[in-house]
Symmetry: C2
Subunit: 193 residues, 2 copies
Amino acid sequence: MNFLEERIVKDGVVKEGNILKVDSFLNHQMDINLFDQMGEEFKRRFADKPINKIVTIEASGIGIACIVARHFGVPVVFAKKTQSVNIDGEVYVAEVESFTHKCKNQVIVSKKFLGPDDHVLVIDDFLANGCALQGLISIVAQAGGTVEGIGIAVEKGFQQGGRIIRNLGYQLESLAIVEGMDAETGEVHFREQ
Amino acid sequence: MNFLEERIVKDGVVKEGNILKVDSFLNHQMDINLFDQMGEEFKRRFADKPINKIVTIEASGIGIACIVARHFGVPVVFAKKTQSVNIDGEVYVAEVESFTHKCKNQVIVSKKFLGPDDHVLVIDDFLANGCALQGLISIVAQAGGTVEGIGIAVEKGFQQGGRIIRNLGYQLESLAIVEGMDAETGEVHFREQ
């Protein structure tokens, strides 16, 4: 087990309905030392890529993205969720369905901050069905930029998001891939990487 | 002028209606090196405080809070905006009015992540009327914790938020306090600190 898998076993909480709560260290309270380790590991895995920007989505992706960005020496752009297209500026738009909140959101990025010269590492905390990720990839494509890679903290390997993204040919690196969990015993099973 | 004031003069954009756009480096695209300088400066200004946690509010406070947290060696907890109280867990709640988005939000923090032993540095990107900040202070108070200080990137000194918070006796440190701006010339005037 790597450092993140160990932390999930130690502090993650499994709930009924394949819910894995990691809010004590990942997406409500945030362990910055852990994020630093994640940044180091992503830097190792994407060492050969000419990354000049990190793109993430609000809210819980932002903290990880910022700490990871220190390891790459690049700025972060975060996509904003909005109920209606911001008509006040020129923006790229993608539609993202949220299963947690049971709603559709538009996510936007200002055209000022993404363009054809951008070689992007996409960062997010969770990957399940992949809707948020597809929205971010779409936005980078609209800008004419290149997705050099995708770094995820926790992937739910039993949902389809990761498979679709890998089938599309992207280098998707998830630090922990959960294959299954048991709410009764609290056990979490990870994919061997 | 300090490093943040210089950056605002260089890359900030003044718009009609006392709007200062700093989205190219602070709250849409994020300059991580700048955030690192801010972390260093906050560490200097709050050097004597026994800070063991940083509290911020989603979304644009999170990036700054995480980079600042590295300088203090503490975790970050971010308050989540929600339209309705999350009944699925025990949370502290505060009501926050947003003038930008013209709506009232409830912000919540899980009771698991704030308590009487917490000595909190509150971090946010902007301070204007102070509603968000009052909500965060209320949440720390509900938890029985102590607000050791408040660190803000950009304060609009001509709005009342900063004065109210200082009158209440808090150590509020804003790295740039904007006293006025001129949309025609693009000039920004800062308070001498």
